[in-house]
Each structure stands twice: as C-alpha cells, then as structure tokens.
Symmetry: C2
Subunit: 425 residues, 2 copies
C-alpha cells in the first residue's frame, strides 16, 4: 500500500504518455484532470480538499521524444507549432476513498477523459496496482482455476476444448448432435461462439433443452460433466434467468462477452452466479491495437479479475488474429500472476490451434492451468473428433514431459496423424 504522510490509502495506475508538453507537466495535468480539478487551483480547492482527494504523480520516466504526434490533437494545432512530442511512462497514485468498490467510477478515474486531453497525443494504461485491502472490496473470481477444475473434474493438465461451429445458424437439434460428437470424443470443454445467444430460429431455452440431456448422458458415462460455456450475454434480467436455467439443468459454466455486457452487468452476474463465468473479450482489438492508445492487457485482465470472471480469452499462438505470439503468452502470464490477493484467471487459448502449439505454450508459460481450444485441430482431424481430442492431450503430455512431439507421436496414432495432416496444411 502506498501511503502519504496522512496514511491515505492509495492505488496506482501506470501509463505511457506522449504529449506536446514535457512529461512531468503532462503527468500533473492528468493527475489534476482525474482528481480534484484542473492544473490550476480552483476556488474551493483547499489544502484539506487536496489532501483527501488529489491524485499524486509518483513516477515520471522520460523516454526519447518523437517529431510527429502518434494521435492528432486539434488543441495542439490551435496552440501553435510544436517541434517535438515528449514521451514517458508515468505513475499516478489515486486515493482509494475517492472511489470505493465502484468499478465504473474506477474506470472513469483511471481510463476516462485523460484519453482526450488536448496536450495528450498518446496515452495507454499499462498497469494498475492495488493494496489488498482495497482489492478485497471487489467481488473477484468466485471459482477461478481451482473451482473450474472441480466443476470439470480435470486436474493436472489443460482443459482441452472447442467452439461449436458454424458460429451461428445451427438449429437446436443440430447443436445437440455436435455436442454429442464432441462428448463422445471425451472432450473437456465446449463453448458457444460469441455471436450466439438467442437467435429467433434457435432460442436459448431450446438450445439448452436440446444439449443438456446429451451432456448428462455423457457425464454418466465419463464420471464428469463436460463443461459447456453457454453464452448468456444479454440484458441483466435475461442473464440472471439464463444462468439460473443452466444451473437448474445441471450445467457447469456460463459465458459472457465482457466488453459489451460491461462492468456493472458482469459484476452483477458474478454476485448472483453459482457457476464459473467464462469471459469472452471480443472487441478488445479496438481498445489495444493502436500501440499508443487504450489499454494493455496487463491492466485489462486485472479490471475483469476484480469484476469476478473466472476465465478470459487471450488468442492463440500462430493464430488467425493479428497478435504476436509473445503478446499472447504475456497475456496468459498476467492472468496467472498474483494481483493483490485476487484469484488468478484461467487463460483461454483459441484460434488456429492444434496439437503443435502445446509444447511452445508450455515452454513459454510453464503452466497447465489453461484452456486450449481447437476448432479445425479437433473437428478437422483426419481420424475424427476423438482422435483430434486425443492428439491435443498427447501433445500436452509430451510438452510436460519435455519429449519431442515427433518422437512422442511414434507410438501415438492420433498425434502422428495430426502432425502429418496439419503440418502439411
């Protein structure tokens, strides 16, 4: 916990900043804008008020300046020519008492108007640090990795899973058929696509009614219920009703699209949910792809961890998405890293995945506390879905044992077929 002379409890936010004014001044402008006022003292901005409410600039590290702004500012244009744009990393300490356990107001404070300040031509929230006493006032994950494993009854290895495809358009009985095939292959985890909740031709209730008997039949056979993250995103009332319907039907997971449900909605679900919450981050690209704007994943996952989801998507190695592999692994690592006593999140790898990524993932992450989802890598396996699932599991065995994948595949037909089929593709 950062403390001032008055023992004021504080949390910190770290930013990359690019600005038309020197970084230390930009830091003061931001700290002022995001707390008690403007850069200049206002009437009523007494010393007592500043003591309780004013944010403090706690670190300023300058970086080499640039000669062109990353982001346009009409404000800078209006003020007249600027020969260079200062860059740096800054840290600001905010009083806990300004906000309390209020996620929307936390976000307004650390990720609000500061993105629009005229002096700012680049601003990215890099990370946040909380005292445990403050973090504890937010819900946090109810189940996390351990709880998810208890529901799934899968231990000491990743949960191997897939996404039902086509993403949208299937009728309830078609979905149930696919779920049946996947469960017959002893899969650990299935999820809906983020596009699919309650289409007119395949309502949520009809889908649930169609798939649950299939899951129960396989649960009886397997001695564990394959975890199905069924997408319940929607209005507050619908999400709660759908969660309760999944729970009543014996399901073990619900999924929400966190960015578009939003912080208040996800937190409300968390407080009322008795099942792990699978967090889908679609839309994340809009918040992170501009390197001098928006959010880093390190900060983003902490905010959703506070809200209380249990799993969070991080893309995959060599995926169909834009993200470099190192960034994917950094994201997963941040989900697994301690944060102010808040439970870790289970990272979810997906997109373009098959057996081959397992050794790389394990080498980079040194953990099996993750979900590894493969679409084509399971459903498109030349020997069928069961071989697809087996090839993923075998690849993780090889990875953990530190055995070369090709060598391990010699006596394992499913993995061997995956290597020869997908590597050629």
């Amino acid at each position: 916990m950062v403390e001032t002379s008055h023992s004021r409890a504080e949390f910190t936010a770290r930013y990359f900043v690019e600005s038309s004014v020197p970084i230390s001044k930009a830091a003061e402008v931001i700290a002022g804008e995001q707390s008690s006022g403007t850069f200049l003292s206002l009437p009523g901005e007494t010393e007592a008020l500043k003591d309780r409410a004013r944010a403090r600039v706690t670190k300023v590290n300058s970086l080499p300046p640039v000669f062109e702004p990353s982001l346009h500012s009409a404000f800078v244009d209006r003020k007249g020519p600027v020969s260079l744009y200062y860059r740096g990393e800054i840290e600001i300490a905010f009083p806990v008492d300004n906000i309390g356990a209020n996620l929307p107001t936390l976000l307004s404070t650390i990720a609000g108007n500061l993105f629009e300040l005229g002096e700012v031509t680049g601003l990215r929230l890099l990370d946040i640090e909380f005292p445990e006493t403050y973090a504890r006032t937010f819900p946090g994950p109810r189940f996390g990795i351990e709880g998810t494993r208890r529901f799934a009854k899968v231990y000491d290895r990743p949960l191997i899973g897939t996404i039902i495809k086509p993403s949208i358009g299937l009728l309830p009985d078609q979905t149930a058929e696919i779920v049946d095939s996947l469960c017959s292959a002893d899969i650990d985890f299935i999820k809906d696509d983020e596009l699919l909740v309650d289409p007119a031709y395949a309502s949520f209730d009809d889908r649930l009614a169609a798939v649950m008997p299939v899951l129960h039949r396989h649960a009886d056979r397997l001695g564990r219920m394959p975890m199905y993250a069924i997408n319940i995103s929607g209005t507050i009332d619908e999400m709660l009703r759908r969660h309760d319907a999944v729970l009543a039907a014996g399901g073990t997971c619900v999924m929400v699209c966190v960015n578009w449900v939003g912080f208040a909605g996800v937190e409300h679900l968390r407080k009322n949910a008795q099942l792990p919450i699978h967090g889908h981050r679609n839309g994340w690209g809009a918040l992170t792809r501009s390197p001098q704007l928006g959010f880093s994943f390190a900060a983003y996952q902490k905010l959703w961890r506070l809200a209380g989801i249990d799993h969070l998507h991080v893309n995959g190695l060599r995926s169909k998405f834009w993200e470099p592999d190192e960034s994917v692994v950094d994201s997963a690592r941040s989900c697994l890293t301690p944060f102010a006593g808040v439970q870790p999140l289970m990272p979810v790898f997906s997109s373009g995945q098959w057996a081959s990524q397992a050794p790389d993932l394990f080498t980079m992450l040194r953990s099996v506390d993750l979900m590894h989802l493969a679409g084509g890598g399971i459903i498109g396996h030349p020997q069928g879905i069961a071989a697809g699932v087996a090839s993923m599991r075998e690849a993780w065995e090889a990875a953990v044992e530190g055995v070369d994948l090709t060598a391990y595949a010699q006596s394992r037909p499913a993995l061997r077929a995956a290597l020869s089929h997908f590597q050629a593709a």
Copy 2:
C-alpha cells in the same frame, strides 16, 4: 429495411477497412467471421443455414491503397511480405434473427473479433442502419429532448449548465453551498463530475440529502426545479437504489458513465428509471482517437440511443480536448438526426465553454436542442455566477437572432463583461 429474396430482415454496418488482402476479400472474411463461420465452408454450413444466418457484403468501395499498415499484424508478417495495403469502405448486412433485442450480442456481431483479424490492419465502425421494426425492440430514450425540457421547464433555448468543481473532494455541505450559488444564479442544469459518486468522505446519500433541500428551495422561487444530473454510476443494485432515492427526493435527472457501466447496465437502468438519463462518455477517446481503429461517433451514439440514454456528451468548440470543432458539431448533429424511429439524444457541449461559442454552435448546428455547460465561463465570470449564466443566455439570444455578439453586448453588461474578460484570457 434491406430484404433478401427470402425477405430476411437485416440491419447494416458500414466500416472503413484496411487489409493485406483485396477489400472485397477482406469484406467476405469479415462477413464470414461475424456470422456463420470462416471464409471457407465448414461441415454443417448448409445452404439453409447460410440463408438464415450468413451476413452479406452489400457494398464495397475501394479507396487508394497505402504502403505501410496503419496497425501492425503479426499474421501478415508470418504470411510473408506485402507490397501494399488495400483500403475501402464496406457495408455488411446481418440477419436480425441472429441477434434479436440483445445489445451485447449486437456489439459482439458488429464490433467484436473483426477488430483482431490477421488480414485487417485497420478497421473502424462508421455507421449502422436499422429497420424501424428492429430498432423498436430496443428500449430507446424514454424522455429524450422533449421529456428533458418538461422536467427542466426550459423551452426554445439551450439548457445552460455547469459542472460542480473541484471535481472531487468537496464535503456534502460544501457541495450544497455551490449548488445554492448556482441556483441563485437561475441556472438550468448542474451535473456531477464523472469522478464523483460515493467517496468515503462525501457519500452519495449525504450529498443527496445536502443538495435536495437547496434545489427545492430554489424550485419554489423559480417555478422550476434546476435539473441536477447526479452521478449514480456503480453496481446494478446501487444504481437502481440511487435512482429511486433521487426520484423520491424530487430530483429530475440521473447521470451514468456509459462506457464503464456498460450496455447491459445502462439498458437495465433505463428499463427501471423514471428520470432522464444523462450519459457521460468518458473513455471514448480510447475507442475513437486512432483514425483507422474503433468507432465513429455516428455509430456510437446510435448504439447508446438504442440502450435508452437521453443526453450524451460531445465535447465543446475550442475545448481543452483533442477533438477538432467540426468533429464536435458532427457528433451533435448525429445525436439530433432521425434514426429508425428512435428518439434523438440531447447533445451536451462542455469543456472550455463560455458565451463566445454560442453563435458558432448555432450557425453550425441550427438547433437549440442542446445543453451548453460552462465551468470557468460561468463561475469565473468577473461579475459573479449570475452574470456568468446571464452571459450564456444572452449569447444564445444573439445567436438565434443572428445579431453580432459584440453589438448585442452593448446593452447587456453580463455579456459585455464576459467578452472583455474571457477574450483577453
């Protein structure tokens, strides 16, 4: 309403796209990713399924290509060198039946994984168009401009308002004193800062208890209750409880930070609210400042209009923020423009405002259906707060009558003092 040969109801989304593949192919990749599957047909992706669920590319307009990507893509790097990046505007038609009245799923569909596609080096949601039959299934604003005017009893001119400053740190009785001064100046509208909801030293309930008697006293005097947008952002339960407390106390408006409460939370508030909802857009900079990424305001305001807020912030002319004036006015115009039978939003101008912006705003917007908020322009007026409010009203009278501000100021001391004081600053 766009119709296919099957009379399938559709809505459309329009995008700017930059891609390593030709724009028509990129458009197909996006349409596939955001509906029934991938670019290639999957098993189970039957003609019947495509008919009901597949998105259609309805327009492709190429723009001149560029030689450097706007956004980095490791996927493009991996696929090998690209000599140019195609650009264009595309329109995609999505089946209404895929989604229904589900805001989070609507967003996942039009603003989801597409931002992260490997082939995409730029993607911005420019606009959306809905059939009225679809738009009507969302809440929409309950009060809008007309309802807001009924609560405020201010007609035929903008609502002149201010934000309580310092943003945060005031004690409840200090807040009440400021509210008293503002109401004594016959102000129309007051709002909390987006940072302020429920600090430990000035709880929401204490603030409400402190300010409401002041508002009532002035309401008795003025024959109208000054509208106070009190920030209720927080958890779902807290927002509903706070809304009810404001309503019970005789308040006439509540405020929420829309991006961080989120779509599900704001829609839930709308369904349970009996007061106009003042929408603060802090964080918007992160979604819009990179010109080849994120959202345009035209699309953004429609989405929040569907969710049912009544007012939305648009910055101000010559403000302390980055945004060019034309962009500010375009935003306000889009709030006032008809959209599929959904009520318009009242645009809220603020930041660096004083009397001088009124004629420019009116010339560009040709409307008085707006809120014009000034901080220093009211509180910093050399003759006091009442003269600050008067100067803003007089400036709008001049603007609407088409009289030059300086000429109009000759017989109006408040406006004259504002012009000489603030123009010199």
